[in-house]
């Protein structure tokens, strides 16, 4: 086989490298590193990793955000690898470990030394230093520290990325507005372009998920309907990428999600924006929107697989997991997988937005706790678990008081430590309002205690506070 092909195949095995690394660490935590269970797992790890070290010269396995990268290429993995990937993310973060550098073909003894050092470092107050010092004599291996979050935020590159995310987000919203207007006037819609818009969102979710999720947390736009469609699309794709759907499926899901509420074009805007409860007639009209959605989608263009999917989701997104929602159907029904995902995203975004049926926007954490009560009845309980793992116990946009008497907004979720997101502090511990700074609630003091913890959550809507001021 040509060396290039070996390289490509080896890169395809990157997910196995991470998976097997997690396996040997887990095994070594139970048994001595010389135990056969450990050495067998080590041999397997070496068999995967060495061909790649040989072809690349040097191999850097790096943790960036919540993802692993191998020589800068993001490693994608199927769902069944999720526990091991999450485990390794947690273990890296626990030690402040940013990357492992494989410089030369590994021997079993090298890996054993690394494992001993890795396991011992967990109990050290300065875990990373302890680990680095212990493996200093292992020439084939090296480690480097996890990059500090504050440094990341300050870099010029990050501001460019933010601009790009913002641009993509608003572009998606304005594009959705254009598409809806075309559908209303019976014009033809260029699906190729809509697909491209969704693809760029999928890219951003894969690379800069927290920034795009942050954009969905900003509510209170005048053009609620279009922002809602885009938000649901982003939340659904973010959830689905955690479930291991491929790029093609993510695009289809994102596209379908954009059109889930298209049936609302049949409801007068005065009804949609009505500040009081609906009359029976208005409620009847609202309940018809799934039917109108199917109609609008099927009239948009000829039937194909994506159109069928979009129509199904438009019909089912209010039916609920236990089919207690609407529309009620005559025949037995099993909800589509996409409908289940989009229904979650839809409920969350609708509950936290200002213009919805409930009329009262809920703070994100409150919305999540209501959704938790609905898991198993209105919502698919397993997908909800994934959702909460994605969005965190305190979702982006939650107004929180820290035990340091700092007041802030949740800025970025932590998918490993769900209750320890990054927070944008808007009032410091002295009660002063400043420019705002980001703190990571996983940061610890030298004594091993967390520097900050959320003690209270509040309703940001009550004080007209949102992330817009800081993100836009």
């Amino acid at each position: 086989m040509a060396s290039k092909e070996i390289r490509e195949e080896a890169f395809n095995k990157a997910k196995d490298i991470v998976n097997q690394l997690a396996v040997i660490i887990r095994t070594a935590a139970i048994h001595d590193t010389g135990n056969i269970a450990v050495t067998t797992a080590i041999d397997k790890f070496i068999a995967i990793v060495n061909p790649l070290i040989l072809s690349e010269g040097e191999l850097v396995l790096e943790l960036g955000g919540e993802f692993f990268y191998l020589n800068e290429a993001r490693i994608r993995y199927p769902l069944e690898y999720l526990p091991n990937f999450d485990f390794l993310v947690r273990e890296f973060k626990r030690r402040g470990l940013g990357s492992i550098i494989f410089r030369d073909a590994l021997k079993s003894e090298d890996v054993q030394s690394f494992l001993r050092a890795f396991i011992a470092s967990a109990s050290s107050l300065e875990s990373f230093e302890a680990l680095a010092e212990e493996i200093v004599d292992v020439s084939s291996l090296g480690v480097s520290r996890l990059r500090k979050i504050r440094d990341e935020e300050k870099t010029e590159g990050s501001s460019d990325v933010r601009k790009m995310v913002k641009k993509s987000y608003f572009n998606a919203v304005s594009y959705t507005r254009g598409v809806v207007s075309k559908i209303k006037s019976g014009e033809k819609v260029n699906i190729k372009k809509v697909k491209r818009v969704v693809e760029s969102m999928v890219d951003l979710i894969l690379e800069e998920e927290h920034l795009l999720l942050g954009m969905t947390a900003i509510k209170d736009y005048d053009e609620y309907t279009y922002h809602h469609s885009v938000n649901v699309s982003i939340l659904a794709v973010a959830l689905a990428q955690r479930l291991g759907l491929n790029k093609r499926a993510l695009t289809e899901l994102g596209l379908v999600a954009l059109f889930h509420d298209i049936g609302k074009i049949g409801i007068p805007i005065e009804v949609l924006n009505k500040p009081t409860s609906f009359t029976d007639d208005e409620w009847h009209m609202v309940q018809k929107h799934p039917f109108w959605g199917v109609r609008a989608i099927l009239k948009m263009r000829g039937i194909d697989a994506t159109v069928a999917r979009a129509a199904i989701v438009a019909f089912e997104h209010h039916m609920y997991h236990d089919l207690s929602g609407y529309p009620k159907t005559k025949e037995s029904f099993e909800l589509d997988f996409y409908s289940k995902i989009i229904s979650l995203a839809d409920q969350y975004d609708a509950m936290t937005a200002a213009r919805v049926y409930s009329r009262i926007p809920l703070p994100p954490d409150r919305a999540l706790s209501i959704m938790m009560e609905r898991a198993g009845t209105q919502l698919d309980p397993i997908l909800f678990k994934f959702f909460i793992n994605m969005i965190g116990v305190f979702p982006v946009g939650t107004l929180v008081m820290l035990d340091t008497r700092e007041l802030g907004l949740v800025y970025q979720s932590n998918t490993v430590f769900l209750d320890r997101p990054k927070v944008l502090v808007i009032i410091n511990s002295k009660g002063e309002r400043g420019e705002g700074y980001i703190v990571d609630l996983t940061e610890k003091a030298p004594d091993g205690k967390f520097l900050r913890t959320i003690v209270k959550t509040m309703d940001p809507n009550k004080y007209r506070i949102n992330l817009a001021e800081y993100l836009l």
Binding site: A2, F170, V197
Partner: protein
């Protein structure tokens, strides 16, 4: 000025890609040219990577640059590879040293797609993106995707106007001390069982969604409130049928049709619903639908006979004319056979519409229609078929005569009798066989009349033999008697012609298998005429040994 070697190598790659784009469109994957093109093109890449680790093409509307050197230019729209990339927003493509043969093949496949086809929702950027090459990067200008450039600023300023003032923030801070503390957050860990459930659901999700969509459309029917909603339902069901046919899936179309029939049969259903559902059956017979069906039949996709028959049973007579139209256009024999069978079945509902096909300008279509009318077996077709006996094409005439024989109504006799005297032997033969098929006494008499005419002895031996062969259908005493008489007949004049007649009679007796003829046949085997002897021997063998 002479270009550096690496730039020359890059230029050769562009040329190789252009050539490969054409080759890939012309040759299937199994053709050696296909593999050779990949190998040749990859060799160009290898050559470049001897100089550098990365190759970046910068794409302008009509040019491609490598570094600052122009390596491709084409002011024309046709076959312009720069424009091909540029129009979808592609501005830069970079190939890395590890670019493999497999990646090249996939890249070439993306170049070869016919993006102008309306049914395709992908452009070149989408396909590059979905393929997610390990060693190809691309840069895209998304400006052309922007609908409203001012929207971002508008939305941002609007929302920023709504943000909290300092007083509200201070109030929030002060209030926070009176808020209730958060309880320990409930973190629900994912279990292996959860993962397995989701993996199973994802696996299950790959199945076709059309069935589900059909269920939804029927739900829309049950809850429709006005005429337009019923019309929409019928229209959507038609679209799904069209989609299913296009994808070679007649089963799904059948599923809709069965369900439609079932719902129509429900007494409580609204009149508008019933009326519109009936439209679904009419739609099956529309020109466009039948055309799609024809394309499916001609595509070589195997169609289950039972499924086809059931589908045809749902068709209305409005399908007849479109079927006749495509009958002359279909290329494969099995496809034509299916359409002919469909027309036979439909023709029973409306023979007149089928008969209109007799005026088709294509002789082969007319011949098929005659065949169909014959197979329908309705004697009402005779009047139409009688006209075909005088058609300008002999193949049509023969088929017409044959069909008349199959229908066998008394009014076919004058025409068939006339055909027995036609100058063309093929027509005469067809006519006698048609009469033979009828098996009636009247038919027999017409044949005998012709055979006993003085002029009959002058016709070709082979033609006479056909007449005798047809006579064997009757096995009647008068026929046996006539044959024995012919076999016995001696003639001093034109004895050779007489022996030919005797040979024919012997042959016919053999076919009838009448043992009473054996003594006479044994006697005749002593004849000096070789032709007669041979026929007699063969007849005896057939009667005695059943061979």
């Amino acid at each position: 000025m002479e270009l550096p070697d690496d730039i020359k190598a890059a230029r050769e790659i562009v040329q190789a890609l252009l050539k490969a784009k054409k080759t890939f469109r012309m040759y299937p994957e199994t053709n050696p040219m296909y593999a050779r093109t990949i190998e040749d093109t990859h060799a160009k890449f290898r050559n470049f990577f001897d100089y550098r680790d990365e190759l970046t093409f910068k794409i302008k509307q009509n040019e491609i640059f490598c570094d600052s050197e122009q390596i491709y230019s084409n002011p024309q729209k046709e076959d312009n590879i720069a424009l091909f990339f540029f129009k979808d927003g592609l501005r830069e493509i970079t190939f890395k040293k590890g670019f493999s043969v497999k990646e090249l093949e996939d890249f070439l496949k993306i170049l070869t797609v016919d993006y102008d086809r309306e049914v395709l929702d992908d452009d070149v950027v989408t396909l590059l993106w979905e393929r997610d090459f390990q060693n190809v990067r691309h840069v895209v200008d998304e400006v052309f995707l922007t609908e409203d450039e001012g929207y971002e600023n508008e939305a941002v300023s609007e929302i920023q106007d709504k943000t909290a003032g300092a007083d509200e923030l201070t109030r929030a801070y002060e209030d926070s001390f009176n808020e209730e503390a958060v309880k320990d957050a409930v973190i629900v860990p994912l279990t292996d069982k959860d993962l397995h459930t989701v993996v199973k659901e994802i696996d299950k999700d790959v199945h076709d969604k059309t069935g589900k969509l059909i269920t939804i459309i029927f739900e829309m029917l049950y809850q429709a409130e006005n005429k337009s909603e019923y019309e929409d339902v019928a229209h959507f069901l038609n679209s799904i049928i069209e989609f299913s046919i296009t994808h070679g899936d007649l089963e799904t179309a059948l599923h809709i049709l069965r369900k439609t029939r079932e719902v129509i049969g429900v007494s409580s259903i609204a009149d508008d619903a019933r009326k519109n559902l009936n439209m679904v059956f009419s739609f099956l017979g529309f020109d466009a639908t039948i055309k799609l069906l024809g394309e499916l039949l001609d595509s070589g996709v195997e169609i289950n006979e039972k499924v086809w028959d059931e589908y045809v049973a749902f068709l209305d007579k409005n399908a007849i004319q479109p079927f006749i139209t495509i009958l002359g256009e279909l290329k494969s024999i099995p496809a034509r056979k299916n359409v002919i069978n469909a027309l036979i079945s439909l023709g029973r509902k409306d023979i007149q519409s089928i008969a209109k096909g007799l005026y088709d300008s294509r002789w082969y279509v007319v011949r098929n229609i005659i065949y169909i009318l014959g197979k329908i077996g309705d004697k009402a077709a005779v009047d139409y078929l009688l006209k075909t006996v005088n058609h300008s094409d002999i193949r049509v005439r023969k088929e017409g005569i044959k069909a008349l024989g199959e229908l066998g109504a008394p009014r076919v006799f004058p025409a068939l009798r006339e055909c027995l005297n036609d100058p063309d032997i093929q027509i005469k033969t067809a006519a006698v066989h048609a009469l033979g098929n009828i098996r009636s006494t009247a038919a027999k008499n017409i044949i005998l009349q012709r055979m006993t005419a003085a002029t009959f002895v002058k016709v070709e031996f082979s033609e006479r033999k056909e007449f005798y062969e047809v006579l064997a259908h009757w096995k009647d005493d008068d026929i046996v008697e006539f044959l024995m008489k012919t076999l016995k007949k001696k003639s001093f004049f034109r004895s050779a012609l007489n022996d030919e007649n005797r040979a024919c009679a012997a042959y016919c007796l053999g076919l009838i298998g009448n043992k009473d003829a054996l003594p006479l046949l044994h006697k005749a085997k002593e004849s000096k005429n070789k032709l007669l002897r041979e026929h007699v021997y063969s007849a005896i063998k057939r009667i005695e040994h059943g061979q």
